[in-house]
């Protein structure tokens, strides 16, 4: 904004009358108020991959919930006359050897996979946050003991205890979730522990202590809300890994049993006919891939949105 010297010299006197204090406001905040979560959402929305992942995931979830209701077929209806049919207008993804509609079975598998993923994530979250929070907050000897237990758990070969749990409890969704959650909360616990350890000596935690707040109060009101970012990120990546583990186990034949269908079971069944009828393999595997990609993109987007420092 350059000003012409001549015009400047001739500015009227009223331009130079002192302003009263009333004309200026020193404690005004120019920017509109945004909460942390509004900022996170704004950053997340700017990430096209993450938004695409979110849309696809919502579609998959809606299809999993409502799809089977709208379809004339059910996942266990056997129709020997129409076995091993390719995709058609009646059976979008074709039928399997027993004539069951693959489309419905894939949707049904989505139900199982998403349920496993979400339930595993919630259980992880609860155990991981409590365990890590306690270890990090109390520290010293308690932390030592809790972390050595974790080290032992992580040293166990996972297939061994998963098979043992499945044998003991039978194959059902509950036992699968239990087996998957047996050690997977450890990652979350470690994240929470290190965050809590760092935050507990922060000045705002000291300030809270000065008010007379109890340890539990400080943990609940200050420390856990402030490590929500890393917690959410670690949970977001846990869902796809739980889904994938379930599919992997089912593919190996340890897991949900026929006639129930998870994506892994479907893929397993399709192996026999892989060379002649590849579509039977293609659809469940494609469902796994699309869901994995979506969840991982969402996780990446959340990580960038929750912790903008990492991106720069």
């Amino acid at each position: 904004m350059h000003i012409d010297p001549e015009a400047y010299a001739n500015l009227p006197a009223e331009d130079f009358a002192p302003l009263g204090d009333a004309d200026r406001e020193n404690e005004q905040i120019a920017r509109p108020s945004t909460t942390y979560w509004q900022d996170v959402w704004a950053r997340f929305r700017r990430d096209p991959l993450a938004m695409a992942g979110l849309c696809v995931l919502i579609l998959v979830a809606l299809a999993a919930i409502f799809g089977p209701m709208l379809s004339p077929f059910s996942y266990e209806d056997v129709d020997f006359l129409n076995g091993d049919m390719g995709p058609s207008s009646a059976h979008w993804f074709g039928t399997d050897r027993l004539g069951r509609d693959i489309f419905v079975r894939v949707l049904y598998g989505a139900r199982i996979s998403l349920t496993v993923g979400v339930v595993a994530a919630v259980i992880n979250l609860v155990i991981g946050v409590l365990y890590g929070g306690i270890a990090g907050f109390i520290g010293r000897r308690v932390d030592m003991v809790l972390m050595r237990i974790v080290d032992i758990l992580i040293g166990l070969p996972s297939l061994l205890y998963i098979i043992l749990i499945m044998m003991a409890l039978g194959s059902s969704i509950q036992s699968i979730v239990l087996a998957l959650c047996f050690t997977s909360w450890i990652g979350t616990a470690r994240v929470v522990r290190s965050e809590v350890m760092m935050l507990k000596s922060s000045e705002y935690a000291l300030a809270a202590r000065l008010t007379g707040a109890s340890d539990f109060d400080i943990l609940l009101h200050h420390l856990i809300p402030n490590c929500m970012g890393p917690i959410i990120v670690s949970t977001a990546f846990l869902i796809p890994s739980a889904i994938f583990s379930e599919a992997f186990l089912a593919f190996l034949g340890i897991g949900i049993q026929v006639p129930m269908a998870s994506w892994g079971t479907l893929a397993n069944e399709a192996i026999a006919a892989l060379s002649s009828r590849p579509y039977q393999m293609f659809f469940p595997v494609a469902a796994i891939c699309v869901t994995m990609f979506s969840l991982n993109f969402i996780g990446d987007g959340l990580r960038d949105a929750l912790d903008p420092r990492l991106k720069k």
Partner: protein, 332 residues
């Protein structure tokens, strides 16, 4: 170890007696014995009601630890803290609750001392929530009143800390400290993270609030000119111990300890003509670590006047009269 009683004649509000706070340092190699970081080692002083007591020193001298131990964020390793006559050195959380209302603290870093996930209203009202003061609607009104008291707008109550500037945040921290109507506030480097023009705002506000509520301050800082401005009495710390303590006019004019002399002469003066005249006492070397300090005077390694005796015996604080205490062998 203490020859002279550093207590002022009138009854003090806060008193530290031979206060020690050691932190264990983890051994580097397996099998090595544990080392102790003697952050505060035998500090005694008393703060009178209504005064501002300055505590100066360089980083690592233990001044922040003294402040935090006085308000019982730390439990002292040895020695006693007396608050209004009561020994609070080893009280547990529940027993400390009445004390928590009376003694508060403001912190150095205005960005780290406010929980970023809470609204300003919740931050200010936290002491009230924990102590269950001003229940119901009165709590919100109290938070607005406190905001106005520190010169912010009452309707800022629903905003988040990151929306405020450093000076405004420091005032929010001050409002939180004032919530329960305390009488004693430890100001731990409250201005060192702020811009020069903002420092004066905060200092003036501290002084105004002191007049209004009769507050007592412990003002911890490394800024010698600001400590001189705000304090009535000043103690100088070096490596966990007080080396000199005196009323402000005495300390800045007739300092006796070689460290105080060097420290004051090193402080840059924002006045070119005086800066040109000022004679500096140069100090060699760095501050040694307070981990397993050797016997003798802690300053002797850098002291331009050290004598053999300084290596053998740690000097005690001696009363030079007029409330002036100094710990140096050369004064005998």
């Amino acid at each position: 170890m203490i020859h002279a009683s550093p207590n002022p004649p009138s009854a003090p509000l806060v008193e530290a007696q031979n206060l020690c706070k050691y932190f264990p340092v983890r051994a580097r190699f397996f099998g090595k014995s544990r080392h102790l970081l003697k952050a505060v080692d035998g500090v005694s002083f008393a703060i009178e009601k209504g005064e501002t007591f300055g505590l100066v020193g360089e980083s690592g001298c233990g001044k922040t630890t003294v402040g935090r131990t006085l308000v019982r964020l730390y439990e002292p390793t040895a020695g006693a803290i007396r608050y209004d006559g009561q020994d609070i050195s080893h009280l547990n959380r529940a027993a400390l609750l009445p004390f928590r209302r009376r003694a508060q603290m403001i912190f150095q870093d205005p960005y780290a001392s406010l929980d970023p996930r809470m609204t300003v209203g919740d931050i200010i009202a936290e002491p009230l929530r924990v102590q269950n003061l001003y229940p119901g609607k009165a709590r919100d009104a109290r938070a607005r009143e406190l905001l106005a008291l520190v010169g912010l707008k009452p309707d800022h109550i629903n905003r988040y800390p990151h929306e405020f500037s450093g000076g405004q945040r420091q005032r929010i921290g001050l409002a939180r400290a004032l919530a329960g109507n305390p009488e004693f506030i430890v100001c731990d480097e409250p201005i060192s993270a702020l811009d020069v023009s903002i420092q004066a705002q905060v200092v003036n506000m501290l002084e105004a609030l002191q007049d209004q509520f009769g507050l007592t301050y412990l003002f911890v800082s490394h800024d010698l000119t600001m400590v001189r401005h705000i304090s009535r009495r000043v103690a100088v710390m070096y490596l966990g111990a007080i080396v000199e303590l005196a009323p402000v006019a005495v300390l800045y004019k007739h300092m006796q300890h070689p460290y105080t002399q060097a420290l004051l002469s090193a402080a840059p003066v924002a006045d070119p003509r005086r800066a040109a005249q000022a004679a500096r006492i140069p100090l060699q070397g760095d501050v040694p670590t307070p981990i397993d300090p050797p016997p003798g005077c802690l300053f002797r390694g850098r002291c331009p006047k050290a004598v053999p005796r300084c290596a053998q015996e740690r000097p005690a604080l001696r009363d030079l009269g007029g409330g002036h205490l100094c710990a140096c062998h050369l004064l005998e």
